[in-house]
Every structure is written in C-alpha cells, then in structure tokens.
C-alpha cells in the first residue's frame, strides 16, 4: 500500500471513523488525542557547529483537541493543544527497566543489567508523570482494568513508527502493549512495570473509546533516545539545563510549519511560531511528521468547515497559517544534468581524467563532475590543489613535483621571514595585531572535529603557523588575519594535512573568499545577490524592500564562511567543491544563497518578519537545513538564470568573469540597462 494511503487509513482509524477522512464533517471529541509520537526532540540553544554538538532532549509529543468557551460570547471554540513532555519527566527509571529499544522488529527490549529501582521511587515517578499529564487527562482518571476491558470491546489502532525502518504501520494496542513483555529475560522486571501501571492506575476517559492514555502510550513507545545514533545525547544528559514541558494552544500561535528533511517526507521539524515571534522547533528524527501533517490537515479542514458556516466570518479562523513545507525540487526546476553526472571515483580520476603524463586534459569534464557529483573523499587531497589553483590542470606529474618543491621552499622562507626578518617594532606590532588573535582563535576552531580536539593538539599548532605565515605573506598588501579565516582553513588542513601544501591551497581559497575583499568588492557581491533576488525571487525582494532590509544581514555569515556554519560538514564540503569547480559560474555561492531563500523563506514572507526576525529565522535554521536539497535547488536556479532571455546590466559582471561555458553557444541573453543613479555609470556604456 502506498504510504499516503497507509497514513490516511491510520489517521482515519485513529479518528475513529474509517470513512471520515474522505469527508470534512467528522466529529472530534473534546480531549481527544489525535496524535502522539515518542522521541520528538527539542534541541536547547547551543553553539552547534556539527551534528555531534547538538544536544537532543527527546520527549513525547501529543496533540489533543480541546474546547474553549469564549468568556465574551460563550461560543465554543475548538482548538488543538500541542504538548511536549521531556522523557526525563515521563519515565525517570527508563534506564533500568523500561527501556525498549526499537529495532527492525521493534520487539526486543534492552537488558541493561541494572537493578530495578525501588518501588517507592517508581511510585514517585509515576505520580510525577500523572501530574505532568493531568492537563491532558481532563481531570478524569480510571484504572487500567477499565481500559483493558475497553480495549477488548474496541481495539484501538495506533500508528507505530519504528526507528530503523521508518514506516508507518497500524498496530493494535493489545499487541504493542505486549511488546513490552516479550523479552523473557526481563519478564520479572516487566511484570514489575505492569504491576506498577496497574496499581498506580492509568487514565482513561470512559466516555471516549478512542482516548488513549498517555501512560499506556508512554509504556508502549520507546521512551529513551536510542544509543544507535551517535550516542551523544545520553552523555550530555547530565547537562544542567533542562527542557521543560511545553504546551501551547495552537490557535494562539502565529504559524505552524512543517519542514521535511528526508526524501520520504517522514522526518523533519515542526516549527511553531508564536505571535510574539518566539520559536519552538521540534525535531522528528525518526519519522512521524507526515502523520502529524495529516492530522493537522484534517483538523484544518474540520475547522475551515466551521468557519465557513453561515453567520461566521472567515477571519475567525484561528489558524492564521498552517503550512506544510515539503522542500522538494521539482524535476522541472532542476538542472537537466542533475542526477546524470556521477561522483568522481578514484578509478575514474586516475583511469579517465588523468592522462599518462598526469595532465587533466578535459578540465571542463572534471569541473562538471565535481559540480554535480562531488569527489570521493580520498581524492580531495589530490584534486583540491587543482581546484584551488595551486597548480594548473595541464601540469604533468613532473611539473607538479618541481613546483611543489619550489613552493615548499618558498613556504619555508615565509616562516623564516616571520621569525627572523621583522624589526623589533614590526614584531611587537605583528604580535599585537595578528598573533595574539590567531592564538586565541585556533583553539576555538572546529573543536568538535577529532582532528583538532584536545589541548596541545599538534594540528592546532599547524593551523596557527599557516595563518601567521599567511599574514606575513600578505604583509605588504594590507591583508593580514581576519577572524573566520581559521574556519575556512580547518577543513582544508584536515584533508590535505601537509603544512606547505595546505598553505598554498589556503592562498587559493582566500582568493575567492570575502576576507581579502575590499569593501567595494563586498558591496558588489551583495548588490549582485540583491539583483538576483530581484529577478529570481521577486516576492522576497518585495518583502526586503518593505522592511528596508536590503543590507541582507542574514546572508553575511553564509557568504563570509561559505555556509560552513549553516550546514553539517559533509555537505558544506560538497558546496565548497561545487563553488571551486567554477562550472558555469564563478558565483555559485550566490545561487546557494538564492536556493536557501527560495526553499526556506516562504515563512518570512507569510509571517511578514522584520529584519531582526529574519535574522533569527535563518539562524535558527542553521544546521537543520537540507544541504543536498539546497545544492540541487541552487544548480536548478543557476540553470533558470542561464535561460533568461534578458538580464539586467547590473548583473553583467556576473557573466563577464566567467570563462567559456557560462552561456550555451546558441543562447546568449541580452543585457538590458535598468537605469542608474546620477553618480553611477552603466556597465554597458563603459564596455
């Protein structure tokens, strides 16, 4: 069965009426739980550069109907209550006797070998749990026996999503309840659990057969963050800060937005924005977001129906926005070569791209392959120096050996110049303006990368030498060290490793970086980006105009660090390589900016975010955006740009620098003057 149908079926079963999903006039009970999902994570705001830096606070998410009675006109107002409860408060003894690790069969439970905690503690935990859940229960509780009896009459279907195999399947409660006790080794403790559940009493609403108690569900689902995924969360659990229970009336929120970040559209983030621009991001790492989308969609239809009933006005619709954002790039929006060009493998590189003398004859093919498919990791050390212009594509093995020798010597000369050729005054000045800052920064760069971690790491020392030497190398040109350079250097050093080779790669890298730009270069780049936004994303451009946000504050870090802090490292390196390939454009970084805006800025316009809110919006998306998708989208947008019949003269520079291949032989867009200020000259007139 296609997944959509399964979801539909599952939701309709959950909603209690199999046919209701087809119609809009379904009936919701008050306090009905429409959705529940375990291991929905909150990530406390931390300085996270990499996935492993992110602290996960797994919790239990529920979505429950609620009817509020308006105090002014006594009108009933149905709404949804979204509640997230941290696992820590749900089930504190999870490590000892309640952990169920979900594997492909989602049936095996973990034997931790830990003793069972005392009953007293358990009771206290259960009381905590009950107190936490009280608002959800609507004040009504009942014993598990009642529920069991109910279950026999009315088999409840829940949607169970397994972790390793994120598919949605319908399971019956009695079965999945059984899965707690399947492990014979754990029988005794599980019985203990059950006993606990019985004696402590779970909650149930007699009047509502579809009501599932959170306790039961809590037991049913895996409550702890699985050890499999990098295992960092468990280590960090002791962190002082805690994410507390979070509960909101969704009708009070400004927007709800679902971002899917996997191809199957099951995992991603639910972003809730309150009217005062407070954001809550809930992470669905293990699927289930598609199901929530379905539930919300049905609820939306249901509400919509109410709102459109006679006598009521449309603006009473409590949900201002409910948007599902499936960041997909449609086939028609993609570059036609997308997917047809494979990653460069070692065999392809040495077998096809290099000739017997070691020259790369068809550098366009190499650049095209890097642009679309990237490089095998082991080739980075070999190919990056070409891309970063350490040596030319036409150089032979011999040429390169010779050149590297010369360059190594030159590097040594720079080092000795730094040590011995500066006057005492120069040294003092150098120490004050460069060295003291570099020394502080290298130990604050990519610390989570094992290559740089720890005190007295020799690689940190190499990074320092390269940066200091770079400042000496450029001493007379006025460029020295600028903060952020170390961020760009670190991944190169990590791959190339050899100090002198890394240095020369870094020199090439800085040629294309913002650090060595004059203010007017930066203005030029930003104005290109503005123009690209104007012609490619006019709605966003209008938004920027309205808020006088033309300085594009939110893009600055993207450009400065070439997206290093916006995406996880693996995908950032793909982006860098795509930029370095200079395929079709020298300004691929600007198309990456465009792609991010195209994919993730709908919300900015819909919620009419101001300049600072925009900055918040995009910085909260850092490390959570789908980089592969952005790459596809950027390549697609570059393709669209190249198809434009006319481009404004303000973007003429964007094409001028590009080598052959920017425009197809049969297509060359016309340049059109868009008008200028008095003190500006049209580039067309100057040429």
């Amino acid at each position: 069965m296609p997944i959509g149908n399964i979801i539909k079926k599952a939701s309709s079963l959950i909603l209690g009426d199999e046919k209701s999903s087809e119609k809009i006039d379904m009936v919701y009970e008050d306090n009905e739980m429409l959705f529940c999902k375990n291991n929905v994570c909150l990530h406390p705001p931390t300085v996270a550069r990499k996935e492993s830096d992110i602290v996960h606070y797994p919790g239990y998410l529920t979505c429950t109907t609620k009817t509020f009675i308006d105090q002014y006109n006594r009108a009933k107002r149905p709404t949804l209550l979204l509640t997230w409860i941290p696992n820590s408060s749900l089930c504190k003894c999870s490590h000892s006797n309640m952990e169920i690790r979900v594997n492909s069969e989602h049936k095996s439970s973990e034997g931790s070998g830990q003793g069972i905690r005392g009953d007293d503690e358990n009771t206290a935990d259960m009381q905590d749990l009950k107190n936490e859940l009280q608002p959800l229960l609507g004040g009504q509780t009942a014993a598990i026996d009642n529920l069991a009896a109910l279950l026999k009459k009315n088999p409840i279907t829940s949607v169970n999503i397994t972790i390793s195999n994120p598919q949605i399947e319908n399971t019956n409660i009695p079965q999945s309840y059984n899965c707690i006790v399947v492990d014979p080794d754990r029988e005794s403790s599980d019985n203990g659990c059950q006993g606990q559940l019985n004696s402590d009493g779970s909650a149930s609403d007699d009047n509502n057969p579809n009501w599932m108690t959170p306790e039961l569900l809590a037991f049913k689902h895996n409550l702890v963050f699985p050890d499999s995924a990098n295992a960092t969360p468990t280590v960090r659990r002791k962190a002082v800060m805690k994410c507390r229970r979070f509960s909101v009336d969704l009708s009070q929120m400004r927007s709800l937005r679902l971002f899917f970040n996997d191809d199957k559209c099951t995992s991603g983030q639910l972003v809730i924005a309150s009217r005062e621009s407070q954001y809550k991001i809930l992470h669905f790492h293990y699927g289930g977001l598609d199901h929530l989308a379905q539930v919300l969609h049905q609820w939306h239809c249901f509400l919509h129906n109410i709102t459109l009933a006679p006598g009521q006005e449309k603006q009473n619709l409590p949900y201002r926005h409910f948007m599902v954002c499936r960041p997909e790039v449609k086939k028609s929006e993609m570059h036609p070569d997308e997917g047809n060009v494979k990653k460069i493998t070692t065999n392809f590189f040495y077998g096809t791209l290099l000739n017997e003398k070691g020259q790369i004859e068809d550098d366009l093919l190499l650049r095209k392959c890097v642009f679309f498919g990237g490089l095998e990791k082991s080739l980075r050390k070999t190919v990056w120096p070409f891309l970063l212009k350490s040596y030319s594509f036409s150089s032979t093995f011999e040429d390169r050996a010779l050149l590297m020798d010369i360059k190594r010597q030159e590097y040594q000369e720079i080092t000795s110049k730094r040590f011995y050729s500066m006057s005492p005054e120069e040294q003092v000045h150098f120490w004050k303006t460069v060295q003291s800052v570099v020394e502080k920064d290298v130990v604050r760069t990519d610390r989570s990368n094992p290559f740089f971690c720890g005190d007295q790491n020799p690689n940190t020392e190499i990074m320092k030498n390269i940066l200091l030497n770079y400042a000496v190398y450029n001493y007379n040109s006025g460029i020295s060290y600028t903060q952020g350079m170390s961020d760009l250097l670190a991944p190169v050093l990590c791959e190339v490793q050899n100090e002198s080779e890394t240095f020369w790669c870094f020199v090439g890298l800085m040629q294309r970086a913002f650090f060595v730009c004059t203010p007017s270069d930066i203005d030029q780049t930003l104005s290109y980006l503005r123009e690209l936004i104007r012609i490619m994303l006019p709605a966003f451009f209008a938004h920027l105009q309205q808020h006088e946000a033309m300085e594009l504050l939110f893009c600055h870090r993207w450009l400065l660090l070439c997206f290093k802090r916006e995406f996880t490292e693996a995908v950032v390196i793909r982006m860098w390589e795509a930029c370095w390939s200079n395929y079709l454009t020298d300004y691929f970084h600007l198309f990456l900016c465009l792609a991010i805006i195209a994919v993730y800025a709908d919300d900015v316009i819909a919620q009419n975010l101001r300049t600072d809110e925009m900055l918040l919006h995009f910085s909260s998306l850092a490390m959570y955006m789908d980089g592969q998708l952005i790459l596809r989208k950027a390549r697609g947008m570059l393709h669209q740009y190249r198809l434009l019949p006319k481009i404004p003269c303000t973007l003429s520079g964007l094409c001028k620098r590009c080598g052959p291949g920017m425009w197809d032989s049969e297509h060359r867009p016309a340049l059109q003057c868009v008008g200028h200020m008095d003190d500006e000259k049209c580039t067309l007139a100057m040429d």
């Binding site: 979070f246 009336d249 407070q278 920064d441 760069t445 930066i522 300085e551 600072d612």
Partner: protein
C-alpha cells in the same frame, strides 16, 4: 511564555574577552571554556522578573565580522542595552574601550543603557587592569560598571539584570518611547491592548507555557 516587555541587548568588545561565555552563563548557567569562535551574530534569551513583571531579554552576541564592518553596525539598531566587555587580564582590551564606545554611541539610539563589564575577575593573579580604572572609565563616560566572571558566574546575573533595571526605570520615567521599536523594547503580548474579538484572546487557559527561551 508571556512577558510584559522584550529588551534587546547587544554584547560588544574585543575578541576573546568572554562575550559568548557571559551570554552562556546568563542564559544556561554554565561555563564552557572551549567553544567555537563567534562569527556573525548568535542569539540568547532569558526571562527575568523586575518589579513583578516578566521581561524577556533577547541578547545579540556579535563578533568576527570585520569584512562587513560598515554594515554590521546596524546590529546596534534597536538595542535597548549594551554590555561593553573587556578582559581585566589584557590591558589592550581596556584600551580599545573608547573605540567601542564611540561606535556604540554613534550607531545606537541615545537612550541605550551601556554597562561596562570587566570580565575574568576570577583571574585576579593575572590582572592588568585595576578595578578602580574600570570604575573611573565608567564614571567618566556615564556607564554602569561591574566586574564579572563568566567562569564562576560572579556578578553575571547582576550585570544583565541591573542593565534591565536601568532600562525599566527609563521606561517608567518615560525616557523610552516603548511604542517605537527602534528603541529595542517591545511590549509583550500580555501587556499589549488585546482585541477581545480576536479568537481565543480570552482563552488564557491554553495559552503558551513554554519551557525554554
């Protein structure tokens, strides 16, 4: 979570004086000696209570953007408070205060409350700037002064909260026009005049009850 006011702060000062650490200590109550260099702007937020009123502090920690210097001055725009930080163990960070202050005064609104912070007070043995010097500088330029330690958390709460108190007093005195968001103050959703016809404005029972920020 509802609040009466939202104040925007910025943290400025030389690199490595402990800006991000101060922020982390204030928002998360922890000290992280090893962290990555701040580039651009990072945000922190915390609720505090002054005079029985909930106030949300939204703190902008900015650094490392020399390349965009001409533009990033707009970070000052709409800030109600600024923490100007130097490192008591490095004289030059104190010497640069004048430049920072000029920058701040030039690009912010004139009512912005500036708190001078001498950080790393736990490293007294390596002290290069006397407390009296900090006090004198603050007096001379009309700033509030405090020595803090992001490591031990000494005075960190006080630094942020005293700044907020000062802003709050200015609001009470009518110095700040709270309806002009360029002053870095926003009125919270609770205090703003609500429209009773808006759906759910009476339904406080289900109102936001958020845990973090």
């Amino acid at each position: 979570m509802s609040y009466a006011y939202l104040f925007k702060y910025i943290i400025i000062g030389d690199t490595g004086v402990g800006k991000s650490c101060l922020l982390l200590q204030f928002t998360d109550k922890r000290f992280q000696p090893v962290h990555d260099l701040t580039i651009g702007v990072e945000f922190g937020a915390r609720m505090i209570t002054i005079d029985g009123k909930q106030i949300k502090l939204q703190i902008w920690d900015t650094a490392g953007q020399e390349a965009f210097r001409s533009i990033t001055r707009s970070y000052y725009r709409g800030a109600a408070g600024a923490l100007l930080v130097y490192d008591i163990t490095r004289r030059e960070t104190f010497n640069h205060l004048t430049t920072w202050l000029e920058d701040a005064r030039q690009h912010s609104n004139s009512n912005m409350v500036i708190m001078l912070i001498g950080n790393k007070s736990d490293l007294d043995s390596r002290r290069e700037v006397k407390k009296e010097e900090g006090e004198a500088f603050a007096r001379e330029h009309g700033l509030v002064f405090m020595e803090t330690s992001a490591r031990t958390a000494a005075n960190v709460e006080e630094a942020f909260i005293n700044t907020a108190k000062e802003i709050y007093e200015k609001i009470q005195e009518g110095v700040f026009d709270i309806n002009n968001e360029a002053n870095g103050i926003k009125i919270g959703p609770q205090a703003s005049p609500t429209n009773p016809s808006l759906p759910g404005s009476g339904g406080a029972a289900g109102a936001a009850n958020s845990g973090c920020c």
